[in-house]
């Protein structure tokens, strides 16, 4: 690894043969055998509903979107699909990745992966669609549970933070998502009200009072359109898609792609993630200090080197990774035990 000094490392699938040999085996026999089920959420995909930044930029305000996304997906993957080992990683710049590492997830076929991804996609449509969320009656339990998550963040994030109903230009966008019958009345109401929060209340009240067949879920649909995670389905679908390895350095920002501690998700701050230069200087400092403190003490050089990361700000992140691996290891051992038990029975 050190000899090659790679610019970046991507992780793909486990293949039936060594990839370097893929030209020498019969065509068709070189096949991807298994890969973690991965999800890639990118802030760029939220551009039409963010006011603070656009394209590759992020800030603390819009990071909430990622928090919401992770909460919703993590719950669904765990409860609906029963996946135990979900590993969330900050990509280094503007998004997050999720690696689902259960054995059953690794063995999913392409069709199965795309079905999972589509089950999880709610916001649909490209540049040519205005209304990207359409709920049907009855509301599926998955959607209901997702809305509960969104509700927790919606006021603080969308109404206060993004201020989506701040002025006419912005609320027009929201009104366009509502049935035509209520638009005019709300237009007037909105002008009178003073803040986004107030306007949102008016909107909900108005929808509530009218007996709407079509727009019964309009408020919920707006919430989802503004906050629901937007997946890159194609990344999850392919068994042979590549994804950047955790702990690699993002080429543009220099930030390390670090694991996210799910128990402290709300505290995660992408701007506090160490960059490569920070770590280098930390390492330099450590070495200088050590040399000053204990010159010439015969500690074995090798041992010290392997633990270098523990002296940098990367340490807590590595710990998260190790905990994840431990759990994975345990469940694997459990499965093996189970298997051998079964064998003895026969």
């Amino acid at each position: 690894m050190q000899k090659m000094n790679p610019y970046k490392i991507d992780i793909g699938a486990v293949y039936s043969h060594k990839p370097s040999m893929h030209n020498s085996v019969k065509s068709g026999t070189f096949q991807a055998q298994e890969k973690e089920l991965v999800f890639d959420i990118d802030m760029t995909d939220y551009d039409d509903v963010r006011r603070c930044c656009s394209s590759a930029d992020i800030c603390n305000k819009c990071w909430t979107l990622m928090t919401i996304a992770m909460r919703i997906l993590d719950r669904a993957l765990a409860e609906d699909f029963g996946f135990q080992h979900r590993f969330w990683v900050y990509s280094g710049r503007r998004g997050v990745h999720c690696w689902v590492c259960d054995e059953s997830a690794r063995k999913l076929s392409q069709a199965e992966r795309s079905a999972v991804a589509e089950y999880l996609s709610v916001v649909k449509g490209g540049e040519d669609t205005i209304k990207k969320v359409q709920l049907s009656d009855p509301i599926h339990p998955f959607i209901r549970k997702s809305i509960t998550v969104v509700e927790k963040y919606f006021e603080q994030y969308a109404l206060v933070g993004q201020d989506i109903l701040e002025n006419k230009q912005n609320w027009e966008k929201v009104l366009a998502l509502l049935p035509e019958t209520v638009r005019e009345a709300l237009q007037k109401d909105f002008q009178k009200a003073r803040s986004s929060v107030e306007r949102w209340e008016k909107l909900k009240k108005c929808l509530h009072s009218q007996d709407l067949k079509k727009g019964a879920y309009a408020a919920k649909e707006i919430m989802l359109q503004y906050c629901y995670p937007r997946l890159d389905v194609n990344v999850s679908k392919g068994v042979n898609h590549l994804l950047k390895s955790p702990f690699s350095v993002h080429p543009k920002t220099g930030r390390i792609s670090v694991p996210i501690d799910f128990r402290r998700l709300d505290q995660f701050d992408p701007f506090a993630v160490p960059t490569i230069s920070l770590i280098c200087s930390e390492l330099d400092n450590v070495n200088i200090k050590e040399e000053q403190e204990s010159p010439g003490e015969g500690e074995p050089e090798v041992k010290r080197k392997t633990r270098d990361y523990k002296r940098t700000s990367l340490a807590p992140y590595v710990k998260v990774f190790e905990q994840f691996l431990d759990k994975l290891d345990q469940s694997r051992k459990g499965e093996l035990l189970l298997k051998s038990d079964l064998k003895r029975e026969f």
Partner: protein, 511 residues
């Protein structure tokens, strides 16, 4: 299947009542056991053609009607009756006629397996049509027959207990469309791995918990179809492996390859157009002869000097289909991309590979074919920042209307198009758009490919010069008997569907 040495040995076994029931107890089957009897070549041919006919009409019906609707069902039933295929279980005992129908169904299925196992594309088409046929027949079965059939096929599912049902009462109720609380009480639910019910998982039509899907009895057809597909696709893969043995039989080889050629008729990857178009023509062509989806992609490319992956694939392969050479394609994309944020070096590193890949010059070295309407409509829907997809399927009606207005389509025309869109007839809507923009009353073809749209449009606009060329090339190769098969299938390109089938029959007659 065995083919006897005697060519015209006609063996038509008449069996007694009991045996008949044993052979084919149901109007549908999983086609697990291949037929072992001897059949004559002429029967082989008729069976094959008739099955192909039925599969083709299934495909056409699926485009023009909503699958499972009353119209769809009656039309399909008529087709099946006309061609003497089994469609619904008879009231009384299995008569000779019924037996013949079922035998034909059985044998013809296996013949087409041989013809359609050769490539990924053919297999996909075959599986799709066979599944639609199976679904139709399964839905015709009366309730008690369903249980019998499942038992016969070795597919039994265990219903969940009442307690479990009560526990998830609300969730079950909310995940199934049009289910009332009382109905829920009566209904059996089956708990299966979610992988076995993908068609229900995908559109979120089933309750999921801990990786298990809870399937109501009413949706059991999904499970069965899934099973049908898995078995069929495995069987096709197996057939493909043993195909060389069958192909070495010189009586069957031409038959089989001709059968598979006649599927959808057209292959737009063919190289016959290459080099006919120069880059500076594209702007003009895009306004005149591109279908809406491609026109939209072209416009967005010119505006943003960039297209995301889905757009590059859909548009790039279309351009390849209308005749851009690899060199032209590289030049075209480079010119446009370097006007935007991408510099020449980045283009070579990031984008040139995939263009060469499309032309079969990299990686797997497959010569990729342009996307069909079906593929564009069904797979990979556009998301944020994407301009690909089918504008009739993936645009809001309001935006579609504006777009059509800007292209100066009359308001009555727009309304007609929007009505078709509402009825989910996206291809018919596109066809209407063709008729309106080309000022013809009836375009005279059924549209299923963007490149077909282009060819037809050019044909109209250039006054049929294309056809003449096509015919002469067809005639010239007639003299060479070796290439007869390929030439007759390529001359069928311009024919409509029904003529295509006649063509096929003619081929067999001559043979």
């Amino acid at each position: 299947m065995q083919f006897s040495r005697g060519r015209n040995l006609k063996l038509n076994p008449r069996l007694t009542g009991d045996r008949k029931g044993e052979h084919y107890p149901f109007s549908l089957q999983f086609y697990q056991v291949p037929p072992t009897e001897n059949i004559s070549l002429s029967e082989f041919e008729t069976f094959a053609i008739e099955r192909l006919k039925i599969l083709k009409s299934i495909e056409n019906l699926g485009v023009s009607y909503v699958k499972g609707s009353v119209e769809y069902n009656t039309k399909l039933e008529n087709e099946l009756r006309k061609l003497k295929f089994p469609y619904r279980p008879p009231q009384n005992d299995i008569s000779d006629d019924v037996y013949d129908e079922r035998r034909k169904d059985h044998i013809s299925h296996f013949i087409l397996r041989l013809a359609y196992c050769q490539s990924e594309d053919l297999r996909r088409w075959f599986i799709q049509q066979e599944m639609d046929l199976f679904r139709f027949r399964f839905n015709q079965l009366p309730r008690q027959k369903v249980q019998e059939f499942l038992k016969y096929s070795g597919l039994e599912y265990l219903a969940i207990s009442e307690d479990e049902k009560k526990q998830h009462h609300d969730d079950l109720l909310n995940s199934t469309y049009g289910l009332s609380s009382t109905k829920l009480e009566e209904l059996d639910f089956y708990k299966v791995r979610f992988q076995d019910a993908l068609d229900l998982v995908r559109p979120r039509k089933v309750f999921l918990l801990q990786g298990f899907a809870y399937i109501p009895h009413t949706d059991i057809v999904t499970l069965i179809l899934n099973e049908f597909r898995t078995r069929l696709s495995k069987a096709l893969a197996l057939s493909a492996r043993s195909l060389p043995v069958v192909q070495s039989d010189e009586r069957l080889q031409p038959l089989l390859s001709h059968l598979s050629h006649s599927y959808v008729g057209q292959d737009f990857s063919s190289q016959r157009n290459t080099g006919k178009i120069s880059l500076d023509q594209i702007d003009a062509l895009s306004a005149k002869s591109f279908p809406l989806c491609m026109r939209q992609l072209h416009k967005s490319l010119r505006e943003h000097h960039h297209l995301r992956h889905g757009g590059r694939m859909q548009y790039g392969l279309f351009l390849k289909g209308i005749g851009l050479t690899l060199e032209q394609a590289l030049q075209f994309w480079r010119l446009e991309f370097t006007k935007g944020k991408v510099d020449s070096e980045k283009f070579d590193k990031g984008y040139a590979y995939s263009i060469r890949h499309n032309y079969g010059k990299e990686g797997k070295r497959t010569d990729y074919t342009p996307y069909s309407c079906m593929k564009i409509i069904v797979s990979n829907p556009p998301s944020q920042g994407d301009y690909h997809g089918c504008p009739f399927r993936h645009s809001d009606p309001e935006l579609l209307k504006q777009k059509l207005q800007s292209f100066k389509v009359s308001s009555t025309g727009i309304n007609q198009i929007l009505d078709l869109v509402k009825g989910m007839h996206y291809q018919l809507a596109c066809q209407k758009y063709f008729e309106l923009t080309h000022n013809v009353d009836d375009c005279g073809f059924s549209l299923n490919h963007p490149n077909q749209y282009f060819i037809e449009s050019q044909k109209l606009l250039t006054g049929g010069q294309e056809i003449k060329k096509e015919q002469t090339s067809g005639e010239s190769s007639q003299s060479n008997p070796q290439s007869q098969i390929t030439s007759s299938s390529s001359s069928a390109l311009m024919n409509t569907q029904s003529e295509d089938m006649e063509d096929l029959e003619q081929f067999f007659n001559e043979y």
